[in-house]
Symmetry: C2
Amino acid sequence: MSLIVQKYGGSSVADATAIKRVAKRIAEAKRAGDDVVVVVSAMGDTTDELLELANEISPLPPLREMDILLTAGERISMSLLAMAIANLGVEAQSFTGQQAGVITDDVHGRARIIDVKASRIRQALDSGAVAIVAGFQGVTEHTNDVTTLGRGGSDTTAVAIAAAIGADVCEIYTDVDGVFTADPRIVPSARKIDRISYEEMLDMAASGAKVLMLRCVEYARRNGVRIHVRSSFSGREGTLVTDEHADAQEEGQMEQPIISGVAHDRTEAKVTVVGVPDVPGTAAQIFEVVAGADVNIDMIVQNVSAASTGLTDISFTLPATDGQKATAALQAVQGSIGFDSLQYDDTIGKLSLVGAGMKSHPGISAKLFGALRDAGINIEMISTSEIRVSVITRSDQLDDAVRAVHTAFDLDSSDGEAVVYGGTGR
Amino acid sequence: MSLIVQKYGGSSVADATAIKRVAKRIAEAKRAGDDVVVVVSAMGDTTDELLELANEISPLPPLREMDILLTAGERISMSLLAMAIANLGVEAQSFTGQQAGVITDDVHGRARIIDVKASRIRQALDSGAVAIVAGFQGVTEHTNDVTTLGRGGSDTTAVAIAAAIGADVCEIYTDVDGVFTADPRIVPSARKIDRISYEEMLDMAASGAKVLMLRCVEYARRNGVRIHVRSSFSGREGTLVTDEHADAQEEGQMEQPIISGVAHDRTEAKVTVVGVPDVPGTAAQIFEVVAGADVNIDMIVQNVSAASTGLTDISFTLPATDGQKATAALQAVQGSIGFDSLQYDDTIGKLSLVGAGMKSHPGISAKLFGALRDAGINIEMISTSEIRVSVITRSDQLDDAVRAVHTAFDLDSSDGEAVVYGGTGR
């Protein structure tokens, strides 16, 4: 008998038929003798529909009200799922974030979980019921205001609850069979990864792999929660995200593949600050301004200064959604910093090769650059870390780049194509 | 400066345009210097859509989950309304039933309010904000479970909050200009009633007048809350429901009209128990069985027993929605009680003439029966109380009956027709 947390995204509960199918899977786990806690996202398009309603009402809705509005989505999906499970003769009780004891800070729209007081979930389990918990939402400790956790929030809810109740595993159900060596939509021969370390998964997520959000993996690593990413459309084993060494020793799998996979990301943009005086402190000034606008920077490249002018160019990448904010902040200080102009480019793509094995294998970068050169793909920026190499290309060349690198590192599967089931949740 | 509770039904917040219109009215009241608490129902068809979803999932959904599901509706409307008000430059904060301190018993689906702990509403008002409260919902005291108040629940929420914060008036906004002497859809010459006592309003509501629900008026009478029923589509004064005598003396309106109005109800059905042994205790047995099935009975008629057989017939009316339950319960005891058969008729209509004045005017019933006879309408059952006479007719004759009685008692307006704006809320 295990204690299992299962998380289902929006596409797994998109309509009544999908909800009944998920209910059946949950009831089977319960009947097999497991204690089951389910975390659920809002149904399919609910969140988008609510956002559209809010936009019709107000261009800048107060964030507190936005959070109350959006959390209606999980309230609907969780109660419908509890009904569907009850209809199969298995007792089920649904809980809002507040009822489940998910305590957050008060940053509406992207709150962080600071505690999970899971007494009601434990009560439900003790009484023999399945506990259904609304993902993506929590409540502030003192004012009892409703908050949302931002993108990927439901995954984080699931991991946080798994940590709080000491679950044996946190199963994240999605529309693919697990974590792949590359996005199967782009590389049909991508292989499913059976087991991946927290660190590699973190780098995959940070590099654009959408199957798990960064903060959810961070939370899992910090609290030692085993994550099993798997499909809600099949019964197949998925990908286990766990502490590599301990588990590998246990199960005699010391030999890990050197490269985990190839991630890609098309959501970034590039800002180039042209003609920056090459004197100490200027770069710091620029990035202080960007940080002050609450924008996270990813890669940074500074060209060698031209001796004749004493000027240099500084390029950096950032989420394209923050492009406006960052460029506006920089324009406001153009006079005081003294640069010539700003260039903005949102037609870039980022490819990242991720793998714990590359630390001790110096030829990795060279092989990567060679593969891209052979495919006729130009590299615009490069950044490396202990277990990752990332390059920026033109957006329209990114798919070709991913396929070329995937093949060059022998990641292609020999046994048929990966299955993609369509749709994404939150 | 007044302290006002305003309640808006589903048709007043049916879409973004309607929500903005209501927001404007609220912002105007706030800018005029009043403190405003708003109670809001779910948008237009939201509740029906959620019910339909639940029906697709399960034929008999657990009531606790049903309540969580349905309360999503007010969560959406209240946050959108708060956004719309904020967009007009007036601060607004929305509160769920739980946040607003609406404590109920644990009877899911038709919970009763047992307390309102309005500290957060008062805080919002003290900070200069408009407080928006979700109608129709509350929370149990100890388990913190979400409950709904059943039909007319949002009106009851509004009155309960008005009582808790000592509001000067509770304005119930609807799609008609107030309480009328008859339903303006049936009697175009119906007059708006400017002022009505709690007792008469109770009898109007109990007799089928849909503009206010019975329990809301009961709560208002018990707590001395003045209700102002008015239209959200016009600026006109509506109907004041209040303690008749105190207010009338204050304002020199001692002369009250004898008759308040003519209410009608097409939601009842008639059950006739045929061939009941006319011995002591049989009627009690029958009604114990019906009460045991949790069915409320309205009118009862027992025929004179036929001397030759010692058998009698007993007829009673009940909500048609409970017809199945009541007849099933009676069929189960047919043997032990020993009646011949059951007849069920859901094509009846009820007309009620209501007015405090009729206590001291013995000719009222005679005039009523005469008006119906002159209109060619057959009376099937009669019941009378101190301030009401009700008769059962064929359903398809009910409209004619209402018009005939309305005219006979000189209730027709001389100054044009009543305005009906369409739609109903919850």
